[in-house]
């Protein structure tokens, strides 16, 4: 393919990636007039920007306040990721280093059991989870939502980390054991420091999928721990104006976009190589 064609394609794709976000961003600063006129794209030239939409969602105008929801999202995402990465990481290390078996099931079957969790759509689990949490008195609590999210995130960690650990020569932890470390110390002292890229990539994916969850929050929480996506979608269901919705959209995806700029180098480098082998 010729060079020109290649750059045309690259530019086109980059624009395509940009357009929805810039549309949401500009709309969030529009006045009702600017919106109702029809599609406008360029601030100051086509319309005069205001911050009314942003005031609506930050509790300034009294319309809505999404900040508590963002705090909820952050708490839930943080703990669900933490539990998933640690327990999933342990399990993945075990699956990479030892042979487990029960009757004729082996390590690969256990790994499949983990990954199979991803096939289940949240809607399938919604009602049983609802009843379960209700029975445990965990409805509309952080802990309840964290537990439920963990079941979806841990499989991602196991899937990413088993192959990652497989790539670290097992002689290293063997040697640590020879030199007096029990398996847990061997893991902590020699393998853990080498696993930073793998842990980073697993954390990134846990954070993305945890933050982005809509369904469980919609079904399992009501007021106290409503997360950001659920809150925004709820706004969407009412007569919330366009500019306010756009502001709320930008507001809720901004943290993760900031996050990608920080962690991008991990995404591009070694961390992912384990998963694709």
């Amino acid at each position: 393919m010729s060079k020109t064609l290649k750059y045309v394609f690259l530019t086109f794709w980059t624009l395509f990636v940009f357009v929805p976000l810039s549309w949401a961003l500009t709309t969030s600063f529009k006045t009702p007039d600017a919106v109702n006129q029809g599609a406008t794209f360029i601030p100051w030239v086509q319309f005069e920007p205001t911050v009314a939409g942003w005031q609506d969602i930050l509790g300034i105008s009294g319309y809505a306040n999404l900040i508590p929801n963002m705090v909820n999202s952050a708490i839930v995402t943080f703990f669900a990721s933490l539990i998933s990465v640690s327990l999933g990481g342990f399990a993945a290390y075990g699956l990479s280093r030892f042979r487990y078996g029960w009757k004729y099931y082996g390590n690969s079957d256990i790994i499949f059991f983990f990954i199979a969790q991803r096939i289940l759509p949240p809607v399938v689990l919604a009602i049983p989870f609802f009843l379960l949490l209700k029975g445990l008195n965990l409805l509309d609590t952080h802990l309840g939502l964290i537990l439920v999210l963990t079941s979806g995130l841990m499989p991602i960690v196991v899937w990413l980390m088993v192959d990652f650990f497989n790539q670290i020569p097992r002689e290293i932890d063997e040697m640590a054991m020879l030199e007096g470390c029990n398996p847990f110390q061997a893991f902590r002292r020699t393998i853990l420091p080498l696993s930073k890229p793998g842990i980073a990539i697993s954390t990134i994916f846990c954070v993305i999928f945890g933050w982005n969850d809509l369904f469980f929050s919609l079904v399992l929480t009501f007021t106290n721990v409503k997360t950001l996506p659920a809150a925004v979608v709820a706004l969407n269901g009412t007569v919330t104006p366009f500019w306010t919705l756009s502001a709320s959209a930008i507001f809720s995806i901004l943290p993760l976009i900031g996050f990608v700029f920080i962690v991008e180098r991990y995404l591009a480098k070694g961390g992912f190589s384990g998963a694709v082998r």
Binding site: P169, E171, I172, E174, M175, A176, M177, L178, E179, G180, C181, N182, P183, Q185, A186, T190, P193, L194
Partner: protein
């Protein structure tokens, strides 16, 4: 403080990995395991280290059941064929790691490590990460780490295998000197190279298909290989094995060559045998001595010797000649057979008589 194996065996599923090994390893001596790749050398070491489970027999250390202890309580050290060190720790941290694990204070551990690191010649690299060292240096770190504490058992699995030729030559002697300092450890060293075994070993164990098929002093094994298999393993270049027959007081090699029976074969009953000759003891014949005629198949220059592979009607003969010589492929040669240096094996490969020294 000796390590005693009785009828030790390992099998995984149907596959037999080690079988019927009975041996008493004493501290302060260097035991060399020799054998082809996958003869069971590595498996035996890993079994001793507790990384493979014994499925048969007993393993005792100092009279106590060694097999019942998990790896981390056995106090063994290992140097691997691949250059394995902790990649995230510096040279100094690598070497102090085992000491710190056994609870020694940092200051004392570092002092001990300093001495040993100087001894292996890495005094200037204390703060380097292993990845920034050459292969030879990495292997020196590994041996320092293995030697730093008084391990019950010190295991070295072909530690020089992946190094440059010249470096191997140099480290071989360095390692021998270092290993003789480990007076309290049972030292086991695996190799495929006969010269390494002869240089380093106090005792030599030849392994084949998971069994120890001969053991003894290295030179004794070298002089009296008990079978064709052993002879092939301990001789590099390989021993030339030719069909032979003894009848009417003559030693017949192949169909053509009839030699007067040499002294050490007098009294051997008539019959069919195999005769083995060391490459270094075969010579190219310049006059009409007792010779086998053949054609040069390949000439290799090894170190400072020349290896000449000659195809003869009786079989392939390998000759080693000191110095560097230019024979041409296809050249016709006579090979003189030193009958006094005949290793005689029976048809099933067991040694009948060795020429002695």
């Amino acid at each position: 403080m000796n390590l005693y194996l009785e009828n030790a065996g390992v099998s995984q599923g149907k596959e037999v990995i080690l079988e019927g090994i009975t041996y008493d390893f004493e501290p302060g001596r260097i035991y060399v395991l020799m054998g082809r790749t996958s003869a069971g050398k590595t498996s035996l070491m890993r079994t001793i280290a507790g990384l493979i489970e014994l499925t048969q027999g007993k393993m005792l250390f100092d009279g106590k059941d060694f097999d019942a202890l998990p790896t981390w309580q056995r106090n063994t050290s290992m140097v691997y064929q691949q250059f394995i060190n902790y990649p995230n720790l510096t040279v100094l941290e690598n070497v102090t790691f085992p000491l710190r694990r056994s609870g020694m204070s940092r200051a004392l551990a570092e002092e001990t490590a300093h001495k040993l690191i100087d001894k292996v010649g890495l005094g200037d690299f204390l703060d380097r990460l292993p990845g920034k060292l050459s292969g030879g240096q990495q292997q020196r770190v590994a041996i320092a780490r293995a030697l730093i504490r008084n391990a019950n058992v010190l295991l070295l699995d072909e530690p020089l295998m992946n190094l440059d030729y010249k470096l191997r030559e140099q480290l071989r002697e360095e390692f021998r000197d270092l290993l003789t300092t480990a007076r309290n450890s049972v030292t086991i060293y695996a190799t495929t190279e006969p010269s390494e075994a002869l240089l380093i070993g106090d005792e030599l164990l030849i392994m084949h298909e998971g069994k120890v098929i001969q053991h003894g002093k290295p030179s004794a094994v070298f002089e009296h290989p008990n079978s064709v298999t052993v002879a092939k393993i301990v001789n590099d270049p390989p021993m030339s094995i030719l069909p032979a027959k003894i009848s009417d007081g003559m030693l017949c090699i192949g169909d053509l060559l009839r030699l007067r029976i040499p002294m050490h074969l007098v009294g051997i009953p008539d019959g069919v045998y195999q005769a083995g000759f060391r490459a270094s003891e075969l010579t190219i014949s310049t006059d009409g001595e007792v010779t086998e005629q053949g054609v040069v198949d390949l000439v290799e220059v090894a170190g400072s010797e020349t290896l000449i592979y000659v195809n003869t009607p009786t079989g392939e003969i390998v000759i080693q000649k000191e110095g560097i010589h230019g024979y041409h492929v296809g050249e016709k040669l006579g090979v003189s057979i030193p009958s006094a240096r005949t290793f005689l094996f029976n048809p099933s490969g067991e040694l009948v008589v060795a020429p002695g020294n």
